[in-house]
Symmetry: C2
Subunit: 185 residues, 2 copies
């Protein structure tokens, strides 16, 4: 059911986008809501962890996931260096954990002191207590893409520790804010 020949919108400046294009893309891309997870790794004896919205399930069989991490971040270095990592999908009640681990410049010392966690059996990485789902992964591939690294991981362990009261209430990110589903909590 074609409405009119052309969609309203505009082309980006080529080959380099303008700052206005980048700003508009940032705004428009925030229209795509995402789940919120903590990604963690242990590297050279230290814990690294950060809040991520850029992850997805690639394949059910073999169980495979992907996370997109800013290539210059400490977390990307830790994941690339360790080869093992964990993802903990957060319930809405963990919004303060998401906020705490969302600051890129945070000192590593004490990073996890405010975060209830246990260590994953297979990776040693921090698994957030009360996560809707958690996954332990071994890196299968890393692909650079623009400013980021696409880290593809094979799932080696999984579980869930969310109490029933939080199990139906995922934390979401949309339009630059944390939000929740209708009819939950």
């Amino acid at each position: 059911m074609e409405m009119t020949p052309r969609a309203p919108g505009h082309a980006l400046a080529r080959p380099e986008p303008s700052q206005a294009d980048v700003d508009e893309f940032s705004r428009l891309s925030a229209e795509a809501a995402s789940a919120v997870a903590v990604l963690s790794a242990v590297w050279q004896g230290r814990d690294y962890a950060g809040t991520v919205g850029s992850f997805l399930t690639v394949s059910w069989d073999p169980p495979t996931m992907l996370a997109s991490l800013y290539a210059e971040s400490r977390l990307a270095a830790a994941v690339a260096g360790s080869g093992r990592w964990a993802l903990s999908v957060l319930p809405y009640g963990h919004k303060s954990v998401a906020n705490w681990l969302a600051s890129p410049g945070m000192p590593l010392e004490g990073l996890l002191e405010r975060v209830p966690f246990r260590r994953g059996e297979l990776t040693g990485a921090a698994v957030v207590d009360g996560a809707l789902a958690h996954f332990e992964l071994e890196t299968a591939d890393i692909h650079p893409a623009a400013t980021h690294l696409l880290v593809v991981g094979t799932v080696v362990g999984m579980g869930s520790t969310a109490p029933p009261s939080e199990a139906m209430d995922p934390l979401l990110h949309w339009g630059g804010d944390y939000v929740r589903l209708a009819g939950r909590g």
Copy 2:
């Protein structure tokens, strides 16, 4: 704040996951909510389109996105063959469009007859009318990952055609169902 030494959960069978592992992974990975979009391409003169939840923004500058497509699907073949595609992020009011385009076995003839769309200026691909945001992309890289292809695209055009009444009400997928945000609509 480490609670106990080990997280509850379990290791997957190696090297091949069991069917029970695959089923549990499918259930647990559905805990990660996602936006819902229509991905489209024109290839060899025909329209291809499908509902996708596996896409994300990789980089703001240069504007870059990624979609994960089942490698054996017609849509993946069309995207790989065309090198140009579009993503339309759907509002909740477009749930019927999402359902319509979610069936993998649908005949191509008439595929878009029930879908209000216009053609993207830069790709010719169908852009769904009323999308919260739409993006036109040129493929920058394709990486095989397990059963899927990770298609990385450079954003060459973008816009939004959602009416104000739908602009705050994204369509989401969570736990196997279409859902919406609290306080919308």
